[in-house]
């Protein structure tokens, strides 16, 4: 029986294991040094905030693995011997494989800041990071202030976590506006304001210079490039992530920033594959980045590779881009491509609408010549994934999208609807006279 060995029990590795089990009778082993069982990394914040217990982040009960004959090993792979088809664990044991899948995810970026390895300086990625935060920031007496470095999705989540325990937070963001490498200006501005509403000391256009240590080797202050010294007890490093592939440096597997893979998720060595955050495509797919550190893409790679491993070779072929996040109280969803001013294509135009009072806004991107709909960002409004996926496939124009927005709305029942306000602004900006079409189940369920 063929032995599929998976390094990493995150969403990619576990999705792969589950699908291989569905499709075959292969022997499956998953090695992880992080936790005994799969948990949802995205939910770690809720454990610290007291919304859930750690066990709630585990999507499968503990009996699941044995029942599905997915053998779990707790261990740290320190070397891969591709010529003998074996991996070497840090405790000296070897595990042989027929197919090896590297799904080791990411680790937080550290850019060589002085003091970056002190105690109480950490990212927010792993279970160990959660444990450390609980240790160094259990309450606002022990942690009088925390400084977070890096204005991305994890940074704002970490700020939310600390604020849930009323710990003062200073948030250093390199950019001139929050996440404006990704978000268009209007949205980025709304998030800036929302961060301030939550009493987070947001310092834009500010870089970390140095982290100062106390006599115990624990962070005690942060020095910024503006010359400020900010006393603090915890420093969060959340300036993005980088593939966790150091253990492969001596192997014959080709590494760039991540493990180099082709569209079949194969590495340069036969029978060795890489999926999830740690995989790096030789060439980016469409507008995507070569390394996609996103929950959904990790899962999709797992689904795809399972097909390949079970005798149905299949390319990784992600469909239309989508993503979601939550900025404190504001939910964010995106479908298709909406680029920030910094990365905008020259044909890309935006229509932006923002609610007068509430933290609600949308940005619709379209082709300025053909009016083809390119994508949408929504804040504080939920949208139907299936509908936008279909509209993108059908290459609908932006007028069509604006008229049929009610079909796409996914807010709970009884919520206020904004389609009329949106379309009236759209009409005045675009000099059109469109009206909103009634929601139609027939359209919603029709197949593309």
């Amino acid at each position: 029986m063929e032995h599929v060995l998976i390094i990493g029990n995150g969403i990619s590795g576990i999705t792969l294991a589950r699908h291989v089990r569905k499709l075959s009778d292969k022997q499956i082993t998953v090695i992880s040094s992080e936790t005994d069982y799969f948990f949802s990394r995205t939910a770690l914040m809720y454990v610290y905030m007291g919304h859930m217990k750690f066990e709630h982040t585990q999507p499968y009960e503990n009996w699941f693995w044995k029942k599905n004959r997915i053998h779990l090993v707790k261990g740290f792979v320190q070397k891969v011997h591709t010529s003998d088809k074996k991996v070497e664990l840090s405790n000296g044991t070897f595990v042989a494989y027929d197919k090896l899948v590297i799904a080791t995810g990411s680790k937080p970026n550290k850019f060589g800041w002085p003091g970056q390895d002190l105690k109480a300086v950490q990212g927010l990625y792993s279970k160990q990071d959660l444990d450390n935060l609980e240790k160094y920031a259990p309450n606002n007496k022990q942690c009088k202030r925390a400084v977070i470095v890096g204005g991305g999705l994890i940074g704002i989540e970490m700020a939310e976590m600390l604020r849930s325990r009323k710990i003062p937070v200073t948030f250093l963001v390199r950019e001139t506006s929050f996440w404006n490498g990704v978000l268009p200006a209007g949205e980025s501005q709304m998030i800036n304001e929302h961060i301030a509403e939550h009493h987070i000391d947001l310092r834009l256009n500010t870089n970390l210079k140095e982290i100062l240590a106390d006599e115990n080797g624990q962070a005690k202050a942060v020095v910024t490039d503006k010359g400020d010294t900010i006393p603090c007890n915890v420093v969060g490093l959340t300036a993005g992530v980088t593939p966790n592939v150091d253990f492969l440096k001596d192997s014959s597997i080709e590494i760039g920033r991540g493990v180099k893979v082709n569209r079949f998720l194969e590495t340069n060595i036969s029978d060795v594959y890489a999926i999830g955050d740690c995989a790096e495509q030789h060439e980016a797919i469409g507008n995507r980045r070569p390394i996609e550190a996103v929950w959904y893409t990790g899962r999709m790679m797992g689904e795809t590779l399972a097909q390949t491993l079970c005798g149905n070779p299949m390319e990784y072929n992600p469909g239309h881009w989508f993503n979601s996040a939550k900025f404190l109280d504001i939910e964010y969803q995106t479908y298709g491509w909406v680029f920030s001013e910094r990365n905008k294509k020259d044909y890309e135009e935006h229509f932006h609408w923002r609610h007068a009072k509430e933290n609600i806004c949308i940005t619709v991107a379209y082709h300025k010549d053909t009016k083809k709909f390119l994508g949408i960002n929504t804040f504080g409004v939920r949208m139907r994934h299936a509908i936008f996926d279909r509209w993108l496939t059908e290459e609908r124009d932006v007028d069509y999208v604006m008229q049929h927005l009610k079909d796409a709305n996914f807010d709970p029942e009884f919520y206020s609807h904004y389609e009329k306000q949106i379309i009236s602004k759209y009409n005045s900006v675009m000099h059109t006279s469109l009206s909103v079409k009634k929601k139609s189940w027939k359209r919603i369920f029709s197949k593309a």
Partner: protein, 526 residues
């Protein structure tokens, strides 16, 4: 703000403490005239009992129910034993000792409590309400901006099965035990609400009136908490208003007013088989003897169960009843909301649930069939089994212990829907319709789920919502009461309760939306 909250808590606790002490204090003095009234009212023929009470109770002052209750119950038990021994079956008293003690207590209460009903109401209910509101209202400011307010739930003793939760558990269980099994200890509570009862039905309050009144008060106060907590979510606001309206108007006011109008006491929204004694002989007789309104209730009750309930479930899912109308659901969604995370999500619990709830439904159906058979044939037994004893067993085990003591008493430990999930026969019936023939579903939004588990954690019915959402499948479960909290707590906008065409409602997915694998190729290879 914090100070207001703390003061409120103290005031609430004073009210609660007074309420808790009241059952065992107070004075009772039964005079001869009152006793004769009772003899007449209850049609007591037991000379032994009359003699014993006249000797030991009449004109004597009793301090607290703890001394009065045994005097009555022993007298009654001794008398009954004597009559049974002497085969004087006509003299046997069929009222239970506890009910008799409650009746005597009610008629003979003399002390401070019975004479200062309004004042005592204020020191119990009044302080409780004021204190609770002072504790709850500052949350408008303290909770900050609109949004999910679940911070610290698993850090607090109250909501994380800590010692406070256990105290609440003991209090609730004791309360229900008194209510169902020792109503004489509720006599002093009835004095507090006598004025309210008299203004509604014209009658002094019994312990079930205390319960009904308290139910409404607790739901109203805790509904205010719901409004504040879920003020970002219109669905929760509307739903909470609906369930509160049906409790106060349909379950509380209308039946009381009907009594005043010489009509049968009836809750128009309480559908059989949750209303398990609807077809009991005494109820049918009372309805048939009540003229037009009685007949209307009889027809309404049958139509409600057979037509209205399933048709509404077809269009809206069982939520229209369970979390919009039902009283049990109403208490669970208000008083029980802080405990919703305690329902077990394990597969094992799901198995237990299916056996138990369908077992209770079967029990209810069999009992009712026996009841109707007995009613029409006028025979007390079916296949040698006494109908009455089956009814008594159901009333005790299901009606009192399961629905009351366990159903509500266990809120802080097993979550707020123990009864609705494991026991309610109506929920089981609605569940069949919802599962097999309904337009309702919780739609999963394509591939957006990140498996965080908030939905499952806060599902009061113990549905592992995430298990479906992370596969891109809609949630079609017979037990879902459509409270909408999974959708409310989802950080990524994945879940939506909606009523739509049946086609496409159940959607098993091979690969999630967003991954453009060649599905034809995938299917061909299988």
């Amino acid at each position: 703000m914090k100070a207001i909250k703390n003061i409120g808590l103290v005031i609430f606790l004073i009210g609660l403490a007074t309420f808790t002490v009241i059952p065992v204090i107070g004075t009772y003095q039964l005079d001869q005239n009152t006793f004769e009234e009772i003899i007449k009212e209850k049609n007591i023929k037991s000379d032994a009992f009359i003699q014993a009470v006249e000797q030991n109770v009449v004109d004597k002052e009793f301090n607290g129910m703890l001394s009065l209750s045994p005097a009555i119950t022993t007298a009654l038990e001794n008398a009954n034993a004597q009559h049974k021994k002497n085969k004087e079956y006509k003299k046997v008293i069929y009222t239970s000792g506890h009910d008799m003690a409650a009746l005597v207590g009610k008629k003979s209460g003399t002390g401070f409590i019975a004479q200062n009903k309004g004042l005592m109401w204020f020191f119990t209910f009044g302080l409780g309400i004021i204190g609770a509101l002072m504790f709850i209202l500052p949350n408008v400011i303290l909770l900050g901006k609109k949004g999910i307010k679940n911070d610290g739930i698993y850090h607090e003793s109250t909501t994380n099965r800590g010692w406070i939760a256990w105290l609440v558990f003991i209090f609730l269980v004791s309360f229900y035990l008194v209510l169902y099994f020792s109503p004489e200890y509720a006599v002093n509570w009835t004095f507090l609400v006598d004025p309210i009862s008299e203004s509604l039905s014209g009658n002094p309050a019994g312990h079930w009136f205390v319960y009904g009144f308290m139910y409404c008060v607790v739901m109203t106060v805790m509904a205010i908490r719901m409004y504040i907590k879920y003020r970002h979510n219109a669905y929760q606001m509307v739903r909470t208003t609906s369930v509160l309206f049906f409790q106060i108007v349909f379950a509380f006011l209308i039946p009381e007013i009907m009594v005043r109008l010489q009509m049968p006491y009836y809750d128009f929204k309480n559908a059989f088989p949750l209303d398990y004694d609807f077809f009991f002989q005494w109820n049918l007789k009372s309805l048939l003897n009540s003229g037009g309104i009685g007949l209307f209730i009889l027809v309404w009750g049958i139509v409600l169960t057979l037509v209205i309930v399933p048709v509404m479930v077809y269009f809206f899912g069982k939520r229209w009843y369970c979390s919009w109308v039902c009283g049990c659901g109403g208490l669970a969604e208000t008083l029980g909301d802080p405990y919703r995370q305690h329902s077990s999500k394990s597969l094992f619990s799901w198995k237990v649930e299916r056996w138990l709830i369908h077992g209770v439904l079967l029990f209810a159906v069999i009992m009712t069939s026996m009841t109707l058979y007995s009613f029409f044939t006028e025979s007390g037994t079916v296949l040698g089994i006494k109908t009455q004893s089956v009814q008594n067993t159901y009333s005790l085990l299901i009606g009192a212990v399961f629905a009351g003591v366990i159903g509500t008493g266990f809120y802080p430990i097993f979550g707020n829907r123990v009864w609705c999930r494991f026991g309610c026969p109506l929920a089981a019936y609605l569940g069949f319709v919802q599962r097999f023939k309904s337009r309702f579903r919780i739609t999963t939004n394509g591939g957006q789920c990140i498996s965080c588990g908030n939905c499952s954690t806060y599902c009061e019915q113990g549905i592992d919502v995430r298990a479906y959402a992370q596969k891109g499948e809609n949630i079609i479960r017979s037990s879902c009461v459509g409270c909408g909290v999974c959708s409310a707590v989802c950080p990524r906008g994945v879940l939506k309760l909606e009523n739509g065409p049946e086609e496409g409602r159940i959607n098993p997915t091979e690969v999630l939306l967003g991954n453009d694998v060649d599905l034809m190729q995938l299917m061909n290879k299988k």
